[in-house]
């Protein structure tokens, strides 16, 4: 049967087509325009006097454009500010940041994006830090340290509570610290010499150490000191319930966060603005457009080079803040050529830091060693390796490299830092006879190749953390730098109870690391922040790792 079916249908469809042909016939006949011939050769020769015959497409085109214009005008009018204002102050503020958190699990997920978003806003620590990187009271209103530096007694505020209504007391503090240490959460490795934490009274806890630790309080102002609700159970990756002035209302991974003021916040830093929208803008140009169009009222960071037009515009304010970000050009201490100190020193002499900083807009500061100005132990070490290509060439010659035997090095770094920096380094090192083979990779590849496997010659990373000198006293760290003297100085600096002595010891250790040319510190990255006039209370210093937003207000001009 089946072979016949098409045969049955075919004539049907043919007649349909035939009817289709018939229909327009009369209408075509009624058309009084001079129709073209049915003879193709005549058609070829035929040229109309005007393009009137083809006006249909033009009409369609203009109609489309007109429609598009009307639609865009209409939607354009319907947009606009939806912020309700209360007494002149905006009820909601949008801020633009760069690095988005993938989840909210501050106990397991690394990265400063979470510190920036949550610490001081949603979660609070035993102690806090101010915009000069100094420790200030937090959940603990004051504390005493025993003379031998082994016992810290914290007195907590009274009447504290979490956003879910649970009271926050000494039990929560003890539980949080024990969990941190038992489960090796982020920050636990920073609590050196930890021995125990105990509840002494309803509002008093005592932390004991096996040996003194100079940076303990500072570390407690970060992730290590955060206090969580021991009675609550929630998915920490998608929610955050703390005791801070804000609640996380909406969290979209890698995109945006909405913070709402906690109406029952217990403490002295009540949020001044009801809603804060945080948008993560990865593309620098999109970020600048967002600021200019008012979609965000403040942008941090703004690329210094793109900030120019905002500086001269009176409706904006632009300011660079101090920060602890160090752009570290690590030189593998056990690498092929870089294990030779002369090669490392030559690289440091070859780099023109002033030029690097100028090409980035001039906001950054030169940094000659591993400790930035906001950290204890800072000393200006920029004089140790001034830009001196001649000296670099001589050192390379001593190490056995020259025109006959050129030095080839591989620079591996994450593509988030852009190609420019690598290109500049290549041309600067080229001038002294070093060929730089640049390998830009994803951060995860960098983590595997450089950080875990230490398979690199040179590497470039922005080490943003504060108080991170321990990296130079840890021989297993990816720098492959091992100096007994530095380790000893660092240990002494941590063991001493005197802050001044600790600072001096750290400065000595930092100078040693710098003299050994264990790395080159390209610059101290200073974050440039730009905001609309009328916005107040946005932290300018350290705002990529610490961004308390409680005082933020916006009064539209």
């Amino acid at each position: 049967m089946r072979p016949d079916e098409p045969g049955v249908h075919a004539p049907g469809s043919a007649t349909e087509a035939g009817r289709g042909h018939d229909r327009p016939g009369p209408r075509a006949g009624a058309d009084d325009r001079p129709g073209p011939s049915t003879d193709p050769t005549l058609n070829e020769a035929y040229r109309p006097m005007s393009s009137r015959g083809n006006s249909l497409p033009w009409k369609l085109l203009s109609l489309t454009l007109a429609l598009a214009l009307v639609v865009s005008l209409w939607t354009g009018h319907r947009g606009g500010q939806t912020d309700r204002t209360q007494g002149g102050l905006a009820g909601s503020i949008s801020i633009g940041l760069k690095l988005p958190p993938g989840n909210l699990d501050i106990r397991n997920q690394s990265g400063t994006a979470l510190d920036q978003l949550l610490i001081g806003n949603v979660y609070e620590g035993l102690v806090a830090r101010d915009s000069d990187n100094k420790v200030i009271p937090g959940l603990a209103k004051d504390w005493e340290v025993s003379a031998d530096g082994l016992e810290y007694t914290f007195h907590l505020n009274r009447g504290m509570r979490f956003s879910n209504g649970h009271p926050l007391d000494a039990a929560d503090v003890v539980w949080s610290l024990r969990e941190l240490m038992d489960r090796h959460y982020q920050g636990s490795e920073m609590l050196r010499n930890y021995r125990s934490i105990d509840q002494v009274g309803a509002t008093t806890v005592r932390l004991r150490l096996t040996r003194p630790y100079q940076h303990l309080l500072w570390e407690l102002s970060g992730r290590a000191g955060l206090v969580f609700d021991h009675r609550a159970s929630y998915d920490m990756k998608t929610q955050a319930q703390g005791s801070g002035p804000y609640l996380v209302e909406t969290f979209r991974p890698n995109d945006s966060v909405i913070l709402k003021a906690d109406p029952h916040y217990w403490g002295p830093r009540k949020a001044k603005t009801g809603t804060i929208r945080i948008r993560y803008l990865a593309d620098d140009n999109a970020a600048v457009n967002a600021l200019r169009s008012g979609d965000v009222q403040v942008l941090a960071p703004i690329t210094a080079n793109l900030a120019g037009p905002f500086r001269s515009d009176p409706s904006f304010h632009v300011q660079a803040g101090d920060d602890t970000d160090k752009f570290v050009l690590a030189m593998n201490g056990k690498g092929g050529a870089t294990s030779d100190i002369r090669v490392r020193q030559a690289i440091r002499y070859a780099i023109d830091h002033k030029q690097l900083i100028a090409s980035r807009g001039g906001a950054d500061k030169a940094l000659g060693g591993p400790i930035p100005p906001l950290d204890p132990g800072y000393e200006d070490l920029t004089g140790l390796f001034p830009h001196d290509p001649g000296r670099a060439r001589r050192l390379l010659a001593q190490a056995g490299y020259g025109p006959g035997r050129p030095l080839r090095l591989r620079l591996t770094y994450a593509n988030t830092y852009g190609a420019e920096l690598g290109d500049q380094l290549r041309s600067q090192l080229k001038a002294v006879g070093i060929d730089l083979d640049i390998r830009m990779v994803e951060f995860s590849v960098w983590l595997q190749d450089v950080h875990a496997n230490k398979d690199y010659d040179l590497s470039l990373v922005d080490h943003g953390e504060s108080h991170d000198f321990y990296q130079w006293a840890t021989p297993t760290y990816y720098y492959n730098y091992d100096s007994a003297k530095v380790r000893q100085l660092y240990d002494q600096a941590m063991d001493t109870v005197s802050r001044e002595r600790s600072r001096d010891l750290l400065a000595k250790a930092a100078r040693q690391v710098s003299e050994d040319a264990a790395a080159d510190w390209l610059f101290n990255y200073r974050i440039t922040t730009a905001w609309h006039q009328g916005l107040e209370g946005f932290p300018v210093n350290l705002n990529q790792s610490l961004l308390p937003l409680a005082d933020l207000t916006y009064r539209k001009a």
């Binding site: 089946r2 098409p6 249908h9 075919a10 469809s13 349909e16 042909h21 327009p24 016939g25 075509a28 058309d31 073209p36 049915t38 193709p40 109309p48 005007s50 393009s51 015959g53 083809n54 249909l56 497409p57 085109l61 489309t64 939607t75 354009g76 319907r78 988005p100 993938g102 989840n103 699990d105 397991n108 997920q109 690394s110 990265g111 982020q186 490795e189 990756k237 998608t238 979209r252 991974p253 890698n254 909405i258 948008r279 803008l281 990865a282 593309d283 999109a286 457009n289 967002a290 200019r292 169009s293 979609d295 994803e442 995860s444 590849v445 983590l447 190749d449 990373v461 991170d468 990296q471």
Partner: protein, 327 residues
């Protein structure tokens, strides 16, 4: 009857292709260096923490085991949970698709509205002015990168930064489609910037298809029956050419899924593109493999849909034979 057979055969192929894609995707992603545990643990993590995380996330299982666990979930309609965000992949994709698919549809609509009439006009044009214009439009439109057209639109029409501040130049309202006006506004510029480029392609296809029709005899036949050349071309030629046009539109739509990623980035839209890039960067492989599988399924479905539409609009295919075509 034949349609049912056709559908069954295509469905079987569809499933087979999906299985093959799943194996390929799984294997390809395992070749990538780096893993999510070290990304989560960060720069200062002691190796023990990375090991512990790897264990907790189930990354210490053997690859065949991981694949089977994943496939097992898939068969139960479970795409799994992102290792990083701990949210279901389906929800994550759904959220992002709310931006990307409307963007693709808007772009495609703009492309069709521009491309098909202009293509027809171009094929039928006899005035040198119209011909020159349509040639120029096709060449310029096709040669412009989406990045450039996007920047141009931002400079012209964006609020704040543009000459005529009409539309937002970046971002998507946080409330999403609960604010349809704002959501649509934020998609207009990116849709335009991809739409005109895709439209130029569609215009070229339409022109050449209709050009072929003009010399194919169908149009002569129509004109012999008393139609004008334009009428014959549009009513008969376009209809005969429509199956091919549908294929082109289907392919174009598939291409646009990756094509709009540039615009998404430029206009800071939280679409599928930025999600994939972020997830690959974080080595959230479980999420990436499910996302890629979904995209592959979408491509395959689109192909299936195009084939079905072919059968519906082309009577020559409807009954499973093509013998009249020659006649």
């Amino acid at each position: 009857m034949t349609m049912a057979r056709f559908l069954l055969r295509r469905l079987a192929l569809f499933i087979l292709a999906l299985v093959a894609v799943s194996v390929l995707v799984f294997a390809a992603l395992r070749i990538l260096p780096g893993d999510v545990a070290s990304v989560m643990a960060g720069l200062n993590a002691p190796p023990e923490r990375v090991t512990a995380l790897r264990q907790r996330l189930g990354l210490d299982r053997s690859y065949p085991r991981q694949y089977l666990d994943w496939a097992n979930g898939l068969m139960h309609g479970d795409l799994g949970r992102s290792l990083l965000t701990d949210r279901p992949v389906a929800a994550q994709v759904g959220e992002r698709a709310q931006v990307t698919f409307p963007l693709i549809l808007c772009g495609l609509a703009i492309a069709l509205v521009l491309g098909i009439p202009l293509g027809c006009a171009s094929a039928l044009a006899r005035s040198p002015r119209m011909q020159a214009f349509s040639h120029m439009a096709a060449i310029v439109g096709g040669a412009v990168p989406a990045l450039w057209s996007g920047l141009l639109f931002i400079m012209l029409f964006s609020k704040g930064a543009g000459l005529i501040g009409l539309l937002p130049s970046q971002g998507f309202p946080v409330q999403g489609w609960d604010q349809p006006g704002q959501a649509l506004q934020s998609l207009l510029l990116p849709a335009l910037s991809t739409g005109i480029i895709v439209g130029a392609g569609i215009m070229r296809y339409t022109r050449s298809l209709l050009g072929d029709m003009l010399s194919s005899g169908y149009v002569d036949m129509g004109m012999a029956c008393g139609m004008t050349r334009t009428q014959a071309a549009l009513r008969i030629g376009l209809r005969v050419a429509s199956p091919q046009l549908v294929s082109v539109v289907g392919l174009t739509m598939a291409e646009m899924i990756t094509g709009v990623m540039v615009s998404e980035n430029l206009f800071a839209l939280p679409g599928l593109g930025s999600m994939l890039i972020a997830d690959v960067g974080n080595r959230d492989l479980l999420a990436v493999q499910s996302e890629l599988l979904l995209l592959a399924a979408f491509f395959l479905l689109l192909g299936l849909l195009v084939d079905i539409v072919h059968r519906l609009i082309d009577p020559r295919l409807r009954d499973g034979t093509r013998r009249e075509v020659a006649a």
